[in-house]
Amino acid sequence: MKSRFKQYSVIPGFGITLGYTLLYLTLIVLIPLSALFIQTANLSFAEFWNHVTSPRVVASYRLTFGASLIGAAINAVFGFLIAWCLVRYRFPGRRLMDALVDLPFALPTAVSGIALTTIFSKHGWIGRYLEPLGIKAAYSPLGVVIALTFIGLPFVVRTLQPAIEELEKEAEEAAASLGANRFQTFIRVILPTVFPALLTGFALAFARALGEYGSVVFISGNMPGRTEITSLLIITKLEQYDFAGATAIAVVMLVVSFAILLSINLLQWWFSVGRRRVA
């Protein structure tokens, strides 16, 4: 009998594979990540607080969180629409459209950054029509929203697609035959069922947007206090050799994104428990 740590198995290779996994994980991920927290622990609380609440930093939080929230909300609406069309309707080009949804994953962020900037700048394909309307898309907070919408789209579509596939058409037909119109069927029958997936997709897009750097820096214009996102501020502090400031802000952002991902897991667990109880 071996220890109770592991159940007995005839398959070999447990020691070496787990050992290697733990070693590699520790060297590449755990030790470097712990550096961030240990370096922060060297700061006194007052210093830390000063670093993370200075006006320029707070302005960057406001922009980053605000734009991420708006981007995720836009994606929740249009991502739902796209997922719905892909699952429910058959039309020419559907497969191509389905594959194209992942483009923001596959396209390097710097590439999408310069592409979006070119389109939305004053003389760009879309920017030139916005300019006469008094809308400045590139080099403004709106540009940040555009970039964050771009990178968040696949998260919403990909989490919603399986949920919409699982929807029972019978429930909608029953609602319709009981006299509900399309809008009522949507609000009362469809939305409550796919809501967990929608919320998860929204949260994933939001979490990704918070840390995004590459696609934003080109289109934002990077004016301190106005269009400077938190990720860029961390880099700026590093370039000024303000390691303490960079580290403190990084810890705040890291803790926030951990908290969001944790709440996504809790949410999914909670919904799955609820579903099991109903079934």
Binding site: F105, P108, T109, T118, N181, G214, S257
Partner: protein
């Protein structure tokens, strides 16, 4: 009367089954039928419009800008030695991080999927950790370790070794951001597949290595490839993390995405988009392979889920 009020009135009036309703209120019902038949077309148009605006246009603009001054100018962009150097460095960083994360992914998936042990779910969470860390922070942690003010900074400086603002830092940052890709594809698939087939092979006298090579590998090969493709795309395209550790020394520590940034900021638009077109092409190939492999992995899932060995027990 607006269509909305009309529907409301319709709904209030009738508790009769649908068929009766259409015969009784023919004109309005026809109108609603017409509206309903227009809904899918309207939704699809809206969805396609949004995707064109946010996905197709950015993709198109890359190639149009790259070829704006003709094909000669496009290829001229690659004559710059620093462009070649950037391509070489990107290939080096990818070439190192890919096999490392592949071996790790297979080892981790083997340990997690084939055995039952305490703390497994914690281990899975820890493996996913790099995905929760933003690109800038992924670079920053290596600066905190190996930078001049970092943990090993003084030690490295004494020995004249450089990791940050040099190639090793770029490789480390790339390994970190692509760390979970292969593992997170393999773990759920191999857990689903279980270990019955390997157990049978072992009890028939196969060695562990043989059972991996002849049993496990054929079952997971498409998923391995899928993970590698995604890992490759991210490794070649990583910008934020690499940007922090690179130091942006032209012709020395610039990867392709960093070189694009420099060219773009110098208003060398054609050259910037020419480099970008390479990465965009890589992205498109990734998408195509990904779509194909998703179909293949799904096939693997379906065939292995059929109870073949389960009946023996």
């Amino acid at each position: 009367m607006s269509p909305l009020q009309e529907t409301q009135r319709l709904k209030n009036q009738t508790t009769l089954p649908n068929t009766v309703q259409t015969t009784v209120l023919k004109p309005t019902a026809k109108f609603i039928d017409l509206l309903s038949s227009l809904v899918p077309g309207f939704l699809i148009t809206l969805a396609v419009g949004f995707m064109t605006l946010f996905l197709v246009l950015p993709l198109a603009v890359i190639f149009i800008e790259a070829f704006k001054l003709g094909i000669v100018e496009y290829f001229k962009s690659f004559q710059d030695p620093s462009a070649w150097h950037a391509i070489k460095l990107t290939l080096i960083a990818t070439g190192i991080s890919l096999p490392l994360n592949l071996v790790f992914g297979i080892a981790a998936a083997w340990a997690i999927a084939k055995f039952e042990f305490v703390g497994k779910s914690v281990l899975i969470t820890l493996i996913d950790l790099p995905f929760a860390v933003s690109p800038i922070i992924s670079g920053l942690i290596f600066v905190l370790m190996f930078g001049l003010q970092g943990w090993f900074g003084a030690w490295l400086a004494e020995r004249d070794l450089q990791i940050i603002f040099a190639v090793p830092g770029i490789v480390l940052a790339t390994i970190f951001v692509t760390f979970p890709f292969v593992a997170r594809e393999l773990i759920p698939l191999m857990q689903e597949q279980g270990s019955d087939e390997e157990q049978a092979a072992i009890s028939l006298g196969a060695t562990g290595w043989q059972s991996f090579y002849y049993i496990t590998l054929p079952n997971i090969k498409w998923a391995v490839l899928y993970g590698v493709i995604l890992c490759n795309a991210r490794a070649m395209g990583e910008f934020g993390a690499v940007s922090v550790v690179s130091g942006h020394i032209r012709g020395k520590t610039n990867t392709v995405p960093l070189h694009i940034e420099i060219l773009y900021n110098e208003y060398n638009v054609v050259a910037a988009f020419a480099m970008a077109s390479l990465l965009a092409l890589m992205g498109l190939v990734t998408l195509a392979l990904k779509t194909f492999l998703e179909w293949k992995v799904q096939q693997d899932r379906n065939t292995t889920l059929e109870p073949t060995l389960a009946e023996v027990h």
